[in-house]
């Protein structure tokens, strides 16, 4: 039976710790770069990363450095690896996208739901507005992930790692969310009205939490 991907990642984390300082930097740049290619088959990616860490460990025992065995240009090698990795089936990418969205939506809904209960507010939502918010939010999320991964790729082999892009992606996400919230607030109500009452939102939130949890468990078993 094949090991779950989660186990492969855990093994990698453990093995990486055995590399010496010079080798660990070399390897981790390599790993970050390869993992930042989200559309590549995850199992194949983790398997080749494990093979490479194993290889470096064996070389290290013989007193050879990562640069000696894998060359002075890790980016060229990494590009060559990425090019030959199979792509992740579209279905898996899609399902993961849905999971990510459900998780985020779940946390927002639970928070708003708790506020509703706390303030004893009965809530009515409009299907049209809700769909608009979800759609806009999905687009924002895709944009943020795209920016983050692009910057991560460019920064992987940069010896002076800038953490600027974390700030940049964070800001994009925040500004985007505020813009969506403002838009949603200004928008006239449209679509079917759904009466949620005081506890409805919280209830919906709990269901979403459960769904996202189950999706995560199923994905990790893969």
């Amino acid at each position: 039976m094949k090991k779950p991907i989660k186990t492969l990642i855990a093994e990698n984390n453990k093995k990486r710790k055995l590399l010496n300082e010079e080798n660990v930097t070399y390897y981790e740049n390599f790993l970050t770069y390869i993992r930042s290619h989200l559309f590549k088959d995850e199992r194949a990616t983790e398997e080749v990363l494990l093979e490479i860490v194993d290889h470096l460990l064996l070389a290290q025992e013989e007193g050879k450095s990562a640069e000696e065995v894998f060359g002075k240009n890790p980016k060229e090698l990494a590009d060559d690896v990425v090019e030959n990795l199979p792509t992740e089936p579209f279905r898996n990418i899609f399902v993961f996208g849905v999971e990510l969205m459900t998780t985020l939506l779940a946390s927002f809904t639970v928070v708003i739901g708790i506020m509703d209960i706390f303030m004893g507010q009965s809530k009515t939502i409009y299907a049209g507005n809700a769909l608009f918010i979800i759609g806009a939010f999905m687009a924002l999320l895709a944009l943020v992930i795209w920016i983050f991964m692009k910057m991560l790729k460019e920064d992987s082999f940069n010896p002076s790692k800038s953490k600027k892009f974390y700030v940049f992606t964070g800001l994009t996400f925040m500004i985007g969310s505020i813009a969506i919230a403002l838009l949603a607030n200004k928008m006239p109500a449209f679509g079917r009205a759904i009466e949620l009452g005081e506890y409805g939102m919280f209830g919906v939130g709990c269901v979403l939490v459960l769904i996202s949890f189950l999706m995560k468990k199923i994905r990790e078993q893969r």
Partner: protein, 113 residues
């Protein structure tokens, strides 16, 4: 990229296949075998893109299993399709090796007409 690396790139698939045809190996052992065969300055890392490509083409099959030393290794074995491909590579190589040797190495003995 050095000229040597560029020259090897095309033929490395064949070299890797022929090692795997003889025995089931994992990455590190494979790189040792190539080095022992005299391909000393092939960076050991270059075998990984080759292994991925060969798997994608269905020429080899990789399987994670425990090694005699303990930890799991990914062992590769050749498939029937891989054997066919290797045969073809061997034939192609035999067809070009001789003329290229003459072309590149035969200058001293060349007769001018």
């Amino acid at each position: 990229m050095s000229i040597r690396t560029q020259l090897l790139k095309g033929i490395l698939d064949g070299c890797v296949l022929s090692v795997i045809e003889k025995e089931v190996v994992y990455g590190y052992v494979l790189s040792q075998k190539l080095q022992q065969a005299g391909l000393k300055d092939v960076s050991e890392g270059t075998i990984y893109p080759v292994l991925l490509r060969l798997q994608k083409n269905g020429y080899i099959k990789g399987e994670m299993r425990p090694s005699p030393a303990g930890p799991d290794r990914k062992y590769y074995e050749i498939t029937p399709l891989g054997k066919e491909a290797l045969q073809e590579i061997k034939e192609q190589w035999a067809a070009i090796a001789q003329p290229i040797t003459v072309l590149l190495g035969g200058n001293q003995n060349e007769e001018t007409n």
